[in-house]
Amino acid sequence: MNASDADAALVEKVRLGDVKAFEMLVVKYQRRIERLIGRMVRDVDLVPDIAQETFIRAYRAIPQFRGESAFYTWLYRIAVNTAKKALMELKRDPLVAESARASSRDEDDETSRVENELSDGETPDAVLASKQIAAAVNLAIESLSEELRQAITLREIEGLSYEEIAEMMNCPIGTVRSRIFRAREAIAQRLRPLLDTRVGERW
């Protein structure tokens, strides 16, 4: 693994047996992994299962992770291989997925049919929630001060380290750290009502 891997400390904790550190990595990468798998598999119903399998495989394989690439690169490869394997199994036995879908359709009444067609991940409520979150984040970014917006943009979009951002913004690293944190908190304040009305209960 290269020395600039942002996940190094958490990965090392997982390698020492800390399952909770692995959960933190799951929360961090779940959306990206699901999007990647969704582009390969198309059938959105299969995406969460393949993503789960990806993380389980990664957890089992992490003792063999030698750090020759970034953790996310390694996880990405596992996701691709897991999705390919799932596709191969579907080709071998395409009736499995179709029959499962047909049986569930037979049991459902008309009111739930739309949800089945959209899949679990694309119910109207879920689609609406996703759009609301995207809109809230973008609106919150616009309302940030210039220095906070620049700091979090350089970090999240450009992927720069604190040291690089400090050089670009001509300020100490501690200031960069503080600005990024304040930017996140300002956005999170607007996001929390959408993420969870009963803060903490979900997680």
Binding site: E12, I173, L195
Partner: protein
């Protein structure tokens, strides 16, 4: 999560730095402990990463209920998995702790690799010099040569190479003689000392073979 108290603010600021991989090992362990024990920290960790994902692409905005359900399902599967213990830590993962919890920066670490290379070169040069010995004729070196034994007060010859002038000083003069670069010193007292101890050494400090050493051959009796 309310960020009113100083403790909460510090806790969340560390969480934010951990999200960026900018926290040292000790502070990382602390943040993991907070994640384990504080549901608000877990919710904040999720929120921070949702923000990052949405900044990169609106496609990554998902229903938070799905994210939570995903983790719950995975937890149930992880319970059935044996706890992984890697045989040894990855070498590059070693980090310096800092009271502020901020990971050592690349700039601070930057001198270590060239420093180690320089130290290695110095060590190699040192070993080379020791094994090769001191060359009296090498420029820029100070050499010590033997004078005739039995001479108690011979002149000490101090000279320079490359055709420079040679000076003769009284060898009986007390006190250290200042030694400049590229000077050959012949000291009668040193010669006497070396001669007296010659028999106790296999070879002298100057590499002269001891007179006690002689070659021996053994003829194995033929049967």
């Amino acid at each position: 999560m309310s960020t009113g108290s100083g403790t909460d603010v510090r806790r969340l600021e560390q969480l934010s730095a951990l999200a960026d991989g900018e926290l040292d090992d000790a502070a990382t362990a602390l943040s993991c402990a907070h994640w384990r024990g504080d549901a608000r920290v877990r919710a904040t960790w999720h929120a921070y990463h949702v923000i990052g994902d949405v900044l990169r692409s609106d496609d990554l905005a998902t229903d938070p209920a799905r994210d939570a359900e995903f983790l719950r399902s995975l937890r149930a599967r992880l319970v059935a998995e044996p706890v992984v213990i890697a045989p040894q830590p990855i070498p590059w993962l070693g980090r310096q702790s800092d009271p502020s919890g901020v990971r050592a920066t690349g700039r601070a670490d930057g001198w270590k690799v060239p420093g180690a290379v320089a130290a290695g070169l110095v060590a190699v040069a040192g070993v080379f010099m020791l094994t090769r010995g001191v060359e009296p004729n090498a420029p820029g070196e100070v050499a010590v040569a033997r004078a005739d034994a039995g001479v108690t007060a011979v002149p000490m010859v101090v000279g320079t190479r490359r055709g420079e002038a040679t000076a003769v000083v009284d060898g009986s003069a007390s006190g250290p003689v200042p030694v400049s670069d590229r000077i050959l010193i012949r000291d009668a007292r040193l010669d006497a000392y070396l001669a007296a101890h010659k028999q106790f050494a296999g070879s002298s400090a100057l590499g002269v073979p001891s007179s006690f050493l002689r070659s021996a051959t053994v003829d194995a009796p033929r049967r």
